[in-house]
């Protein structure tokens, strides 16, 4: 395991992911510091005649982190694929795979260690995201109540979460995101078994994620019913469920509550099932594979 982590840390592409996250977070923070009111004006355009809101207070560290995560968690699967898709194919490309399997460890152990290393990389990436998107944003913008702008069915909604009820939601959301991105890591690892260089599995992973994401976002009833439930991309944004606060009959948010915990739990279980199936398939395929390089 240590060797695998050492290998990952020695690859320059590892740091591309961290640099990309830093750059995106910084650009958002700079843009919102300079002119965040324009964004607020955009999302509140249909109610600006009816309500007054202290927009400067609304653009705070918690809100910024949500905005950054909204954008980043769509691109981060690509960054995860950059590393995880190199796991086996990278060894094959360098001609070290045969040498590696001649060591006194089983092929199953080798795949599991590779998967564990990719998972640790994913966790580190998310930790870095938490530092740049949440901690730095809180330092720059301060803490206050958080507004969530959301489309629910045909309606748009604004949810407000008080500042003392937010942090645990971020911990939970980052935990969920770890599981979601681990599916991508597992998929990349699986595809890397079939390739002799890492470009193929990286591109294949990215293509699968893009195609499935597009299908997940098409609002066609027949696809909604028969296809979406089976696509892992339908559950990637499930972390947002932790910010959909439950409300009482009068529409007043209930502190510490979630609107639909069973749905989040089921999404989480489906993602874990994906991981289990893909990793098992990786082990089975790799055990039977002829290693020629």
């Amino acid at each position: 395991m240590q060797i695998e982590l050492f290998k990952i840390s020695k690859r320059p592409r590892t740091y591309i992911a961290f640099a990309a996250i830093t750059a995106i977070a910084f650009i958002f923070q700079f843009a919102f510091k300079a002119d965040g009111q324009s964004y607020m004006d955009l999302v509140l355009q249909s109610v600006k005649d009816s309500f007054e809101l202290e927009k400067a207070k609304a653009i705070n560290g918690y809100f910024m982190c949500y905005i950054i995560l909204n954008t980043l968690l769509i691109q981060v699967p690509i960054l995860v694929a950059l590393i995880a898709a190199d796991s086996i194919s990278g060894e094959a490309n360098m001609g070290t795979l045969r040498l590696l399997i001649s060591k006194p460890i089983s092929r199953t152990q080798l795949i599991l260690v590779k998967f564990a290393a990719a998972t640790i990389f994913t966790i580190l990436l998310l930790l870095w995201m938490a530092i740049t998107a949440l901690v730095i944003s809180l330092l720059i913008f301060g803490a206050d109540d958080m507004l969530i702008f959301r489309v629910k069915g045909e309606d748009s909604q604004i949810l407000q979460i008080t500042k003392d009820d937010i942090l645990w939601r971020y911990f939970a959301a980052f935990g969920y995101a770890t599981v979601a991105l681990t599916v991508i890591a597992a998929l990349s690892l699986f595809l890397s078994i079939f390739a002799e260089n890492s470009i193929g599995p990286i591109i294949a992973t990215v293509c699968i994620v893009i195609v499935c994401t597009i299908i997940s976002n098409i609002n066609v009833p027949i696809i909604d019913k028969n296809v979406k439930p089976f696509l892992f991309t339908s559950y990637l944004v499930g972390w947002k469920g932790f910010f959909y606060i439950g409300t009482n009959g009068e529409g007043v948010p209930i502190k510490g509550s979630l609107e639909n915990w069973p749905s989040i739990r089921n999404s989480l279980l489906i993602l874990i099932l994906h991981i289990a199936v893909i990793v098992t398939a990786s082990v089975l395929v790799f055990r039977k594979k002829d290693i020629l390089s």
């Binding site: 955009l42 999302v43 355009q45 249909s46 109610v47 005649d49 009816s50 309500f51 007054e52 809101l53 202290e54 207070k57 609304a58 909204n70 769509i74 206050d144 109540d145 507004l147 702008f149 959301r150 489309v151 629910k152 069915g153 045909e154 309606d155 748009s156 909604q157 604004i158 949810l159 407000q160 008080t162 500042k163 976002n217 339908s234 944004v237 499930g238 972390w239 947002k240 469920g241 959909y244 606060i245 409300t247 009068e250 529409g251 007043v252 948010p253 502190k255 609107e259 639909n260 749905s263 989040i264």
Partner: protein
């Protein structure tokens, strides 16, 4: 002869009644004028279909003639723009309106005098204000205002400790709202399977309820609060 007498009687009653209404409004106005400024603590509850916001502890600052600010010092609040009308000076301040007596009506358990105010200025935003005045305590219990640009709104007030100053313990402000629509492409939402509110539950009015805990009256309020 009898008919002529009745017609003359009708014409003679109306001016007397209007005069009474004018005197009543004047008395209420004098009472409201006792307050030059105040600072109040209260709890604001907003009931709007698309807004899921918690109860807010707010501070309300008022300064004559028409400066009013509602601030949530512990968080964020959506304050209805028409809420400035909780300052009754905005409704009965000045004398640029005609007063019409509309008789009596029961508002809750209180018998109230209904008075309509018609602005003299044809271009004024307010088209009509209807006041329901408790003649015993000289306070406005309900006020309905119809505007040219901003729809209609209604104030329902409950009085208690501060009746002497015409300051309510509780105000329910009902106002017209437009549908809230997020611009497309702003969010990538998680479909958690919960259904949106049924159209039948939707209404085009919103409510903001402020329960006042305490007032500090005529002790001075800095202009900085209204910026």
């Amino acid at each position: 002869m009898k008919k002529l007498f009745l017609i003359l009687l009708c014409f003679s009653i109306k001016p007397v009644s209007a005069q009474d209404a004018e005197a009543l409004v004047k008395k209420v106005k004098e009472k409201i004028d006792l307050v030059n400024n105040y600072e109040a603590d209260g709890i604001m509850k907003t009931n709007v279909t698309f807004l899921k916001v918690p109860e807010a502890q707010v501070k309300i600052y008022f300064k004559k003639p028409n400066l009013l600010k509602i601030k949530n010092e512990k968080g964020i609040s959506f304050v209805p723009k028409g809420a400035v009308s909780i300052n009754l000076n905005n409704i009965i301040g000045g004398d640029q309106y005609s007063i019409i007596d509309a008789g009596y009506e029961k508002t809750g358990t209180v018998k109230t005098r209904v008075v309509k105010l018609l602005p003299k200025d044809d271009n004024a935003d307010v088209v009509l204000s209807t006041l329901y005045i408790d003649e015993t305590n000289l306070v406005i219990i309900k006020a309905k205002t119809t505007t040219r640009e901003n729809g209609s709104y209604q104030l329902d007030m409950t009085f208690g400790k501060y009746t002497a100053y015409c300051l309510p313990d509780k105000i329910v402000f009902t106002f017209n709202i437009k549908d809230y629509k997020l611009p497309k492409g702003v969010t990538f939402d998680f479909d958690d399977g919960t259904n949106a509110d049924k159209p039948a539950e939707k209404n085009k009015t919103g409510k903001a309820e402020i329960s006042f805990n305490s007032y500090t009256i005529n002790k001075g309020v800095s202009d900085s609060f209204f910026k």
